[in-house]
């Protein structure tokens, strides 16, 4: 029986899935379709090293051109799968290609959420998701003077740090009461506000941008909901992403919270279809009933590996400890675990020194750690969580004792 796989979406998850299929010995055809014209590339550096000029487009490639040929992966770039018929195993693309498959993998990722306000389509209003976005930004940044960043999450803060380092006047406007609220505890949010303010970036919390004003066809200012107007010849929007679920909806896959529901094996509600990466809603990798969305390289890679194994009939449940990172100027954040549902935090070290860790607990059990410029703590806790270990909360703040000495393995 043939087992040809069509992978829709050629970013981190899709490329990994295709590569893992070959690594695991898949001998059927693999077709990998990406909407962008570029050789599939890494996204995280776009808001960090690439934007700062420390990486080239070539260096961002996930794999060389030759890799796809030598691994017999048919990479189709600059086209989009528009229609899928699972029963006949046929897909058609926007340019009219017909692709045959036995099994389907959706690694469609997510698209940026656009600002639904007047002036949002003015030149000078940019988003950060794709290489083209970053290239456009790199082009206009040198001549910009005042930058308004809409959204105080990691992408926004990373971009703000790069702009500030380039000598721009930077204001971050965040609708929530604190920065990166979805990802970190209040103590870390407060730390970020102070650290960015120390670097000369203005932070406006609890404010929304209601209108972008333009003159002669380019953005010149942002009006906030309190009536204030901020000069801006560049507006960077980072207000989150939404999974691309059109194909999944068309096929009739189970969708929840606007994402594709998968099980621990990256299997969707249809046994012929797997999904991986930003487009999925998955069971919490560390057990329990919670379903989570994980927008990260780590998840894209690990879930894609699981999906590839599932397609080949090797069922390996996904159990990796999630991890994330964010580089903002000299602030290197590394997160191990998921803090969702925490009821206690312990701060280890002084945030004022820009070198500290925060441990998250639920019912006394360690869930996660955020480390700022404390890689040793991060590495320890990532491994500890994988082994079901913990650090007793009552002692975790004591910086005179290395975290390693406080670790307890195999705790309940």
């Amino acid at each position: 029986m043939s087992n040809d796989v069509l992978v829709v979406g050629a970013s981190q998850a899709g490329v990994q899935l295709a590569a893992s299929l070959r690594e695991l010995g898949h001998d059927g055809a693999i077709t990998l379709v990406g909407a962008e014209p570029h050789l599939p590339y890494q996204r995280p550096p776009l808001s960090k090293a690439y934007l700062a000029g420390a990486a080239t487009a070539e260096s961002l490639a996930l794999r060389n051109d030759a890799f796809y040929a030598s691994h017999d992966i048919d990479l189709i770039r600059g086209d989009r799968v528009a229609d899928v018929d699972l029963d006949s195993g046929k897909a058609t693309t926007e340019t009219g290609r017909t692709l045959s498959f036995d099994r389907l993998a959706l690694t469609t990722g997510a698209r940026v959420i656009r600002l639904p306000i007047p002036g949002a389509d003015l030149p000078g209003v940019l988003y950060l998701r794709d290489l083209d976005d970053a290239d456009m930004l790199a082009q206009v940044l040198p001549s910009a003077r005042s930058v308004v960043v809409v959204g105080g999450g990691f992408i926004g803060l990373e971009a703000a740090a790069v702009c500030r380092n380039a000598g721009k006047d930077v204001t971050v406007v965040e609708m929530g009461a604190r920065l990166a609220a979805r990802a970190v505890a209040p103590v870390v949010s407060d730390f970020y506000r102070q650290a960015h303010e120390r670097r000369g970036t203005a932070i406006r919390l609890g404010r929304t941008v209601t209108e972008l004003l333009g003159d002669k066809g380019a953005v010149t200012a942002a009006r906030l909901d309190d009536g204030s107007v901020l000069a801006a010849d560049l507006v960077l929007v980072g207000v989150g992403v939404a999974p691309r679920i059109e194909l999944a909806e068309q096929i009739g896959l189970e969708i929840r919270n606007r994402a594709i529901v998968v099980d621990r094996f990256a299997q969707t509600s249809d046994p012929r279809v797997v999904a991986a990466g930003d487009c999925t809603l998955l069971p919490h990798p560390r057990g329990g009933d919670d379903m989570v969305r994980l927008e990260s390289v780590q998840n894209a890679v690990d879930q894609a590996k699981i999906a590839a194994a599932t397609l080949l009939g090797e069922k390996k449940p996904y159990s990796t400890v999630p991890w994330f990172w964010s580089d903002q100027d000299t602030l290197k954040l590394k997160i191990a675990g998921l803090s969702t549902g925490y009821d206690d935090v312990v701060v280890r070290g002084d945030p004022g020194t820009e070198k500290f860790s925060v441990l998250y607990y639920r019912s006394g059990k360690l869930l996660a750690l955020d480390s700022i410029n404390q890689t040793a703590d991060y590495l320890l806790v990532r491994r500890l969580l994988g082994a079901g270990g913990t650090v007793p909360a009552e002692r975790a703040a004591d910086v005179d004792i290395p975290l390693k000495s406080l670790a307890v393995t195999n705790a309940g």
């Binding site: 890494q42 960090k48 260096s59 996930l62 990172w325 890689t375 040793a376």
Partner: protein
């Protein structure tokens, strides 16, 4: 090929620097590297098994751990001599036990000077 030959730095002119990866099973992968890419990126882009480079080279994991041969380590530089101590800290905690030639290959940039470099891929990555 003897060990002696294997690790002798070569100085032959090449269009692109040649890097040899020896995987834990002894398999050799000779790759023409792009200058400016890291030794990790070179491996990942060309599909060398065993080097994962999961974090993309941002010193957030230890999944590109290699052992640089004694003959090469002074050209490449030692992890403990890097000013930013993060790599040093990560290597101390890597899944495969650290050796004197241990490096995170994402921190080693390919230059003409490294033409002929041989690295052994660590048997476990984390």
């Amino acid at each position: 090929m003897t060990i002696q030959q294997e690790f002798t730095p070569t100085r032959r002119p090449a269009v692109m620097p040649l890097i040899t990866y020896v995987d834990p099973d002894g398999g050799r992968h000779e790759i023409e590297a792009q200058r400016g890419d890291s030794v990790m990126e070179t491996a990942v882009k060309n599909g060398v098994p065993g080097i994962i480079g999961e974090c993309g080279g941002f010193l957030s994991c230890a999944s590109c751990h290699v052992f640089v041969a004694d003959e090469w380590i002074d050209h490449v530089g030692r992890a403990e001599d890097v000013e930013d101590e993060t790599e040093h800290v990560i290597l101390d905690d890597a899944a495969a036990e650290r050796q004197s030639g241990s490096r995170l290959s994402c921190q080693v940039k390919v230059t003409d000077d490294l033409n002929g470099l041989v690295v052994h891929v660590a048997p476990e990555q984390s």
